[in-house]
């Protein structure tokens, strides 16, 4: 199984704008590959006070967020295949990115709401029967986003592991 990681960068986490998309993945148009998420995580590296932070998985139609381009990394270093999804700033089909600077005008549809204590962080592991799957050629992208601005904007780290299933 081809598995990839899309995550934040930097050794001290990243600064988010507020209520913003952390990761955005948009499946390729005309593809037969499903995107199956294995896990999602969010952490706060700084020494912070205990507070609950909402987090959501959402789908979003065009117009998509404006992002920092990021390329999915292979989980298995020996995997000769690159991801079918490439890094881009516009969130278009077949692309992905991180840490949105603008959310875009496209409507977001709630897929999975959750919340976590920022001291402990958030790890959502999907059991095999309950994986979040984006079907091939789905016309919306999927975002991991803070629906409410966090109390501390700096020091965030996050990521998603996903499998591409032909």
């Amino acid at each position: 199984m081809r598995e990839f990681i899309l995550s934040s960068t930097g050794v001290s986490g990243m600064t988010v704008l507020g209520a913003s998309t952390l990761n955005f993945i948009n499946p390729p148009a005309g593809s037969s590959i499903d995107i199956s998420f294995i896990r999602h995580w969010v952490g706060q590296v700084a020494n912070v006070n205990s507070v609950m932070q909402p987090i959501q998985l959402v789908t979003q139609v065009t117009a998509f967020p404006t992002l920092i381009s990021a390329t999915p990394r292979r989980v298995q270093l020996a995997d000769p295949n690159a991801s079918t999804i490439t890094g881009a700033t516009n969130g278009a089909a077949g692309t992905c990115g991180i840490n949105a600077s603008s959310e875009g005008a496209g409507a977001k549809t709630l897929w999975w709401p959750d919340s976590f204590n920022v001291v402990n962080g958030y790890l959502k592991v999907n059991t095999p029967e309950e994986r979040d799957v984006i079907p091939s050629a789905y016309t919306s992208g999927v975002g991991l986003w803070f629906s409410v601005a966090p109390a501390t904007l700096t020091g965030w780290t996050w990521g998603e592991t996903f499998a591409e299933i032909a």
């Binding site: 990681i5 050794v11 001290s12 986490g13 294995i38 896990r39 995580w41 969010v42 952490g43 590296v45 700084a46 020494n47 989980v75 976590f116 204590n117 001291v119 402990n120 962080g121 958030y122 790890l123 959502k124 592991v125 059991t127 095999p128 029967e129 780290t157 990521g159 592991t161």
Partner: protein, 101 residues
Amino acid sequence: MANDDAHLLIGRALGQLYRRENKTETYVSVPPALVITDSDGATWTMGFKKLVHGREFEFSVLRNDVDTGEMAKRIEYTKGVVRIFGQYGWRSFSRSRRHFI
């Protein structure tokens, strides 16, 4: 870092340094938490190596980003002891800080 307070608990997880004022509260479990900070300041989390057992994923157990060689479905902090649950049942991190028993 030179400007860190001496009392801070500082550990590493998934390539990042985590600073905490206090150890994690008892009965916190990974998942759904991302990290556990124990009284030594070590940070525990799940790595990326995985297998499927009993319809659930087991992931590698990382302590300060070092693979402990163990696989688990849960890491739990209970009354000051780090415990893992996997296909071999519940096991606790030893007082010697070397292995799970």
